[in-house]
Symmetry: C2
Subunit: 328 residues, 2 copies
């Protein structure tokens, strides 16, 4: 294993310390229990809290800040954070309008956030994200997995909360975005968890994992690598079958790299996906291309499509200022 680390036990602490130092104007890191919080939560706004295992950076800590999350609870690599982190984060950032937890659907995250939700003495609700159409149940999941579409939920609900929507309304927006979002990806290589010290899975030099999860979990099948256009076409087939867009539907297209795929290839995927969506009568009205929901050093990528309406479009376009998503 070749990684920039000092001791395996210190990876999370040192990485979060660097995040804090690099973005002191946006976020503050709290240790023991560990969470990343917006430096200046806005009074009277619903507090948005997400989190999960680390190793998916910039998700979620890179999305803490104005227009997006109020806090992110960070577990060890690929390991759910615990309820004490969620409770401490909620106490730290809530300002009286309640707390909305945005949770990726994995067994550990789901259980821990549910527990925190029940224990928390503040009005709260959960949006469960399950955008991955690859598999129905998987290694770590009952039901579909939450993957790169989580960013879309966090961005749009983040903007909704800034406009003053209340807890129930924010939850409704989040659930609506989740239903309007579908994702699926492929992996060319495995990833290496620092504490494990070796690749999560083996894969041949000419193979890809079709429908892979963001922890390297199996997808639908293992098969030889195909040209980019063929990969994109099958991913979009699965995604559009799930979303069933009306003719002329407007969508957000998010091409997400899993960590080790060059940006050059991600833009090439966007080109292929744009052609296919146009041919199927779907309009790409917004795009996001980059490594946002990663699996450490995995080579691969996913496509996410969100059906947009004027309200969601306005919320997507609203200003955001975080470490890794920033526009005005």
């Amino acid at each position: 294993m070749k990684k920039f680390i000092n001791h395996v036990d210190q990876v999370l602490h040192e990485s979060l310390s660097g995040l804090q130092a690099a973005h002191a104007d946006i976020l503050t890191v709290h240790f023991d229990p560990t969470f990343v919080r917006r430096t200046a939560p806005r009074p009277g706004k619903v507090a948005l809290i997400s989190g999960g295992g680390t190793g998916h950076e910039p998700l979620h800590a890179g999305f803490v800040g104005k227009g997006m999350l109020d806090a992110a609870c960070t577990g060890q690599v690929f390991t759910s954070p615990t309820p004490d982190q969620m409770l401490a984060a909620a106490e730290s950032v809530h300002t009286g309008a309640g707390v909305l937890f945005i949770v990726k659907n994995y067994a550990g995250d789901s259980m821990n956030f549910q527990m925190a939700s029940e224990m928390l003495d503040i009005e709260n609700a959960i949006v469960m994200v399950n955008d991955d159409v690859a598999v129905q149940n998987s290694t770590h999941t009952t039901g579909r997995r939450g993957v790169a579409g989580t960013l879309v939920v966090e961005k749009i609900v983040g903007a909704a909360a800034e406009t003053g929507l209340d807890l129930a309304q924010c939850k409704a927006v989040g659930d609506r975005v989740n239903r309007a979002t579908a994702s699926m990806g492929v992996a060319f290589t495995s990833c290496t968890v620092p504490a494990a010290g070796r690749a999560t899975f083996d894969i041949d030099d000419d193979e890809m994992e079709f429908g892979v999860g963001i922890h390297g979990e199996p997808g639908r099948r293992r098969e030889p690598v195909r040209p980019a256009q063929a990969i994109v076409d099958e991913l979009l087939d699965c995604i559009l079958t799930d979303l069933n867009p009306a003719p002329g539907a407007n969508v957000l297209l998010h091409v997400n790299g899993f960590g080790a795929t060059p940006l050059m290839e991600l833009y090439l995927l966007h080109h292929c996906a744009g052609k296919t969506l146009a041919a199927r009568g779907v309009n790409v009205v917004r795009s996001l291309v980059g490594n946002y929901t990663t699996a450490l050093d995995m080579a691969g990528a996913s496509l996410t499509v969100t059906l947009m309406d004027p309200e969601l479009l306005q919320l997507w376009d609203a200003p955001v200022r975080t470490a890794s998503l920033n526009w005005s």
Copy 2:
């Protein structure tokens, strides 16, 4: 070779088409000759043009837009663009205040931009960037290489041009930033050029290339991987020996990933570098962490330090709106 491509010959065209589709509000791609231009150049402003081989994305095309570059000339992967691209880009974006070429110091780029500079019938100048302190001459270079510090030059000169500085003043700012900037990096893995189809170099499972270039060129030596803090300390030793900062100097610290290194590790490097710089009496007043000057799918990272003064700080902080660097 596992990559998201259709045909090796079409990689650049399809990738640039995706870039254009994803960022139509910011940039326009011109083909034959190929360059990426700001959609709306600002009349009366010095036109800034950079470029080089592709494979380093987001550098340079991802930095075209308000507050940074007016155009980027894109060669094939790791191959210099040609003078006809530079001339066409200059004709396309100049608005009467002259053209400043920002060029990384490699033999091909230097020769081609010099040729374009001489052929161009518009007042122009060149800023040559050579921030890499690893080696004096190298595989593709006479003199030091231009690496991740190029982003710093492009950002600061971009802001200077927006304030109305003339061509000579913009060149002076660029030369000054280049002199105030030093970089050095290490690689854990090679990269794979699509047209070559195999790794650029071989490296053992426990080795790193210390002082690597952004095309996988050799650095100072091959050696066993060391803890992150030890790597950072030696990189900073080389960088600070070159810059010789005064006690209490203010600096920008840019931690750059070469493409396949997780953001988690880049922030960990920032933490290590921050500790060492503090111990040496250097203040980190601005930070940039991420994969900005890449070498395709190479795992590794570089550190860049720029000595900042109040003028440079103001220019660094000025608004920028490009595909990959965006703040207000």
